[in-house]
Structures are given as C-alpha cells and as structure tokens.
Symmetry: C2
Subunit: 373 residues, 2 copies
C-alpha cells in the first residue's frame, strides 16, 4: 500500500448518540452504525474505508462503548480484535483518544496519530487523504498539534471555527498555517463574517499529532486524566484489565480533546491548521442528510429515498424519505420535508427545523418511553 504514511496510526472514536437523527439513531444503535445517507455503507464503514488508505488494520483503532463492540466488529470485518477499545461509559473525546494514544505510544514511540470521527461524511476522499498527508508531515516536522480546517461553504452556526494565522512554509505541508484561535459556534451574523472572510475554517474535530506530544499535553493540562489512563494501560495486558478499567474509568474527567489539548496548545502557539475542502459534513441532522442526498436519475423527481426497497410515490413534492419499513410512502404537495419511517416511530420534519428533532427525543424521554430512545 504505497500511500501509507510512515508511523501513522488512525484512531476512530465511535461515540455520540446522534439524537438529532432520531428515530433512525437510537441509544442502542447510534448514528455511526447506520447507512443514513443511503450510500450502501454505514458512516462507520465509510470512515474505515477512508482510514484504510492511511493506515494498515494493525494501526487502526476504534474506540467505542462496550455495548457497541459487537456491532462494530460485525460491520468492520478487517478490524483486528485487539484494536477495539471498549469504553465502560461515555467520557468524551479526551479520555477516548488519550487511551488509544497511550496504547499506540507503547507500541510505537514515534507514532503520529490522526483521529477521525466515525459518524462524519466526506465526499472527496482523494482530497481528504492528501490533506491528511500534509497534516501528518506537519505534525512530524514540528511536534505541534495539527488540525484540519474545513473551508466553509455556508455560514454554519452549528460548527466551531478556527481562526488561521501566518503560512508556515513547511516542506511537505505547503498550505499549513498557524492556528490563531479556536472559536465557539457563532451566531448567524458572526457566522456570515467568518464564512466569507477567507480567514476562518470549520473545526471538524480532526487532530493529527505525535502520540508523545498528545500525551505530554494531556499530562500537563489534565494530570488526573493522564494518571487514570496510565493506570488502565498498565493493567491492559494483564487479567486485571477489566477490573482496573471498571474502577478507574468512572473517575475520569469527561472533557472534549478540543478543550483539554487543542485550545491550550493554540494559546501557546502550538497548533497548526491545514485547510481542507473535501465535502466534509458532520451529518448532524436531517438537513445535512437532505443536502448530501441529491436525487439521482431513476429516482422519483424531487424526492430522495433512503433505505432498502423504499417505495415512494410523490406528487409535486420535494424532500427526503428515510425508511426502515416496507410501507409505501406517498408525498403530495409538500416542500423540503424529511420523513423518517421506522417500525415504532415516525418523524415528519422540515429541513429548516431539523435541529429541533432533539426536542422530540427530550419529550419522549420525559414521557418515560425509553423503548423509543
């Protein structure tokens, strides 16, 4: 495999519940396990297919909840048995990536790791791979934290942004720039300024760095978390692995890697941004799904159907139908609608309100209908 990057290890955090994609995404079967875009692969499988171009199975790790380990293994037949890291409970990305980094570092002290969420979508894989190559080169050359800054294609308010600084002129990473600052999800007016400035990029949560650098920063910024992970890894190859992990894990800080590592590093002038423009989307809600899923020839005009053998009849309508059932779905005179048909729950929403699907999940929870979550 000629394109592989030296010392590169891929980490795929497969967590998150994807509540805005209910009723497809459920607690027991979250977003990354679904082919929610109707591509023929689940989001996890598509992520694996991309990272397979960057690292061999021996150097590809998936971190996921204990309850999802079996499903992850079923979906990824090439995933090696000891490359699955099971989390007893969700502890956000600092613990997940930190644990994987520590396990990788003891095998390969020169490792450069890249972390890529299991539930995002990338349209242009070739461009993605070349950007990650630059990022890995920059990480190896500098010892900094490298992130990929997505070129905004609209004034998104649901993503954080990265302010970029000076061009760094790194030999194998010609587009790499200093990251000036990570900024939170902006309001609509600020998002417009950012999106059209040419200076701000979306934070896609992709981090590429030497494992040793990540662990140093973790020790510096979150010593308790680092110590806890060290204890877990110390027992990893012994019969006490489960016992120690079960004891220590609940005590770990629940923090995002952005907060624990990337932001302090940026403040210290140690973060690099490699700009990326490869059709990235976090598939955060059904508006994303509708946007990413254009009607293809042969499909009913204006309405995209996602699911096995979905039958749609549409009359003067536009939208997306996502179905897990065998029922005929008929749309008549509706615009930009999203219909999600599952065995026990039906959702009808408009693209503009897709973010608020979360409220339905909250209400279902309040009603004690855990069977629907």
């Amino acid at each position: 495999m000629g394109g592989m990057i030296e010392n590169f290890h891929a980490v795929i955090p497969a967590g998150g519940s994807g509540t805005r994609l209910w009723p497809v995404s459920r607690t027991a079967r979250p977003k990354f396990l679904h082919d929610i875009l109707g591509t023929g692969s689940t989001l996890l499988q598509s992520t694996w297919a991309r990272t397979a171009e960057l690292a061999d199975p021996d150097r590809t790790w998936v971190v996921t909840g204990r309850g999802h380990v079996e499903a992850v293994r079923r979906q990824l037949p090439d995933l090696l048995r000891d490359r699955v890291v099971a989390e007893p409970s969700p502890k956000d990305s600092a613990a997940a990536i930190g644990l994987a980094a520590m396990l990788i570092h003891r095998e390969d002290p020169d490792a450069v790791i890249g972390s890529f969420s299991a539930d995002h979508s990338i349209t242009n894989t070739g461009e993605f791979l070349s950007v990650v190559e630059q990022a890995a080169a920059a990480a190896a050359a500098t010892g900094d934290i490298v992130t990929i800054g997505i070129t905004p294609t609209y004034p998104a308010t649901s993503y954080g942004y990265i302010e970029t600084g000076a061009l760094l002129r790194i030999a194998d990473a010609p587009t790499a720039r200093r990251a000036a600052e990570f900024v939170e999800k902006p309001d609509a007016a600020t998002a417009r300024t950012y999106a059209y400035s040419g200076r701000y990029r979306w934070n896609a949560g992709m981090f590429i760095m030497r494992a040793s650098v990540l662990l140093e920063l973790l020790e510096e910024q979150a010593p308790d978390l680092h110590a806890g992970l060290t204890r877990i890894v110390g027992a990893w190859d012994t019969e006490d692995r489960d016992a120690v992990q079960s004891e220590v894990w609940p005590t770990l800080e629940k923090k995002a890697i952005d907060y624990v590592v990337a932001e302090p590093a940026a403040a210290a002038g140690r973060v690099i941004v490699v700009p990326g423009d490869f059709g990235w989307d976090d598939v955060g809600d059904f508006d994303s799904v509708a946007k990413l899923r254009q009607p293809v020839p042969g499909e009913v005009r204006g309405v995209s159907a996602i699911g096995e053998d979905v039958e749609v009849v549409d009359v003067e309508s536009r939208g997306v139908v996502i179905s897990e059932t065998e029922r005929l779905v008929a749309l008549v005179g509706v615009e930009d609608l999203v219909v999600v048909d599952t065995d026990d729950a039906l959702l009808v929403t408009s693209r503009a309100y897709a973010q608020q699907v979360k409220q339905v999940v909250d209400r279902v929870k309040e009603a004690g209908r855990d069977d629907l979550l």
Copy 2:
C-alpha cells in the same frame, strides 16, 4: 318518537370509494365505514344517528355494495335485515335511490323519502332535522323535488351550486324557495361570486320527495332504468331475486340522480330549495378532515390526533395526524400538514394539496399494487 315526520322514509346510499381519503379509505373498506373525523362513530353510524331522529328503523334503508353488506350490518345493529339493499356493482345514485324508492313505494304509496349520503358530516344535527322537516313538508304539500341548499361558508370549487329563486311561502316550510338552476362546480372566480351573492347554495345531494313523484320522473327521464328496476322489484320477494338482479343490474344506466331527476325537474320549475346552515361537509378530502377536526383541550397544541391511542409529539407544528397504527408520530416544524399512518402505507400531504391525493391512488393502480387500493 314525537319528532318523526309522517310517511317519511330515509334512504342512505352507502357507496363511493373516497379515493381522496386514501390510505384510510380503501376499496374493501371505503370512507363511510371509517371514523375518519375521530368522533367515536363512523360516518355511516353518524348518518344513521341523524336519520334515526327522522324515521324508525322500519323506514330506514341502506343501499350499499354487496361486499359491504356485512360491515354495514355490524356497524348498525338497529338496521333491519330486509332494509339493506345490496348492489351487485356501483351504478351511481339514480339506480340506488330509485330501487329503494320503488321498494318503499310498494309498501307505502304515500311515502315521502329523503336520501342522505352515508359519508357526509353534519355538525348541527338539531338544525339539520328542522330543515329536513321543512323539506318534507314542502315535498308533501307540492309534489315537487325538494333539495337542501347549504349556505356557502367559503368559495368552494369542489361543490356544485343551486341558484335560488322566489320565496314560495309554503305553510310548514317558510324558507323554501324555487330552485332556478343546478350549476356545476365553478372555477375560483365564479365560486367567489356565488359564495358571497346570497343567492347560490351548495348542492349537498340531499333530495326529499314523494316516492311516487321520483318514480314518475324516473319513468319519464330514464325509462330503461325504470323498467329494469321494475323487473328487479317484481322478483324481490321471490326466490329469483338474486338471479333477476344479477341479470338486470349490469344493464342499468350509471347516472347520478341529480342528472336524471333533479336537473330536468328544475328545468320544468319543479324543484324547491330549503336553505340549510348546519355545518355540512362532504368530507371529500383531508383538508375537510383538518378543518372539521379542531384541536380540543388536552390534545397536543396545534396538532389534532385521530385514531385509537394515537401518540403524537409535536414541536412548533400544526396539522392533523390520522393513525391506524401504534407508532409514535413526531412532527417538528411543519405547518398545515396531514399525516396518515396505516399498516402498509403512509401519506404525508399539505391541506392545500389534499385534493391531489387521488393522483397517488392512480399511480398505485398503474403500478399494479392492488393490495394498497
């Protein structure tokens, strides 16, 4: 029963497929057999409850397709066995009402009959009854065809209209007027003129007249139909009833009673209109259903739910959910939507496009999916 009208017999034609109410209304289980308004009674049962105030069971007839006889009997326990007239195939209202009129006339030569579709909705029963009383009085006093002209509440283009003429000053029917003309469903501009003129009424297809008058007009205007019905009725009480009906019925003209009887009578100055304003609606499509079904206290704000144990969660939405399943239905950010959830088909339409649901039925038919019709 003090309110009963002398010599009055009620005829309930229970036909029509209600394709614009698909997927609730199906060939095997048409509109009139459904509680589509969520009142706790099917449209047929509600019609029966109204006519029961006008005529005893002995004087109440239901004309329906052979395939629906058992369902009709199950829904109407008070319906007498020999008061159900089964049609071998749909032959429209002239044949249906003509046959009932002939069967009634041989029992009661002085009968006044009133025909009331099994699948319409009336909100104010008290007012309806008093209007029918006037109509029956006018029919008995004059020997004319009496129809009820509904006061338009909006410029409907889906109803025919009746142009009213001079007040007739009939003793027990003080509001009765001469009918000048029946007019077809108008375009939108004409409908506006009609609706606000104070001179045009909706034709609700309710006819009240002496049975003898109807039969005379039938003989005059449709002699073949009259002869055919006479043959069928001649064998009615013999063991040849089914054989004769099966032989003759297919040869009968398929015509609406409006066309065969009411329009020629109007041209001859023999039709009377009694104006009625009692919340009549033909429940022709889901827009009617949405209009008639206002949210009631305790229901989810803005969304009406129709069906047994329907569970709806709505977020900033407005519309109607009609469900025959046990699934949770969630609406998020949608306006004036109609969602119809059945075991094998799901319909999502907007109130404005409700008329076009018929197109879905046509498409399902073309696709050979008779199981869904």
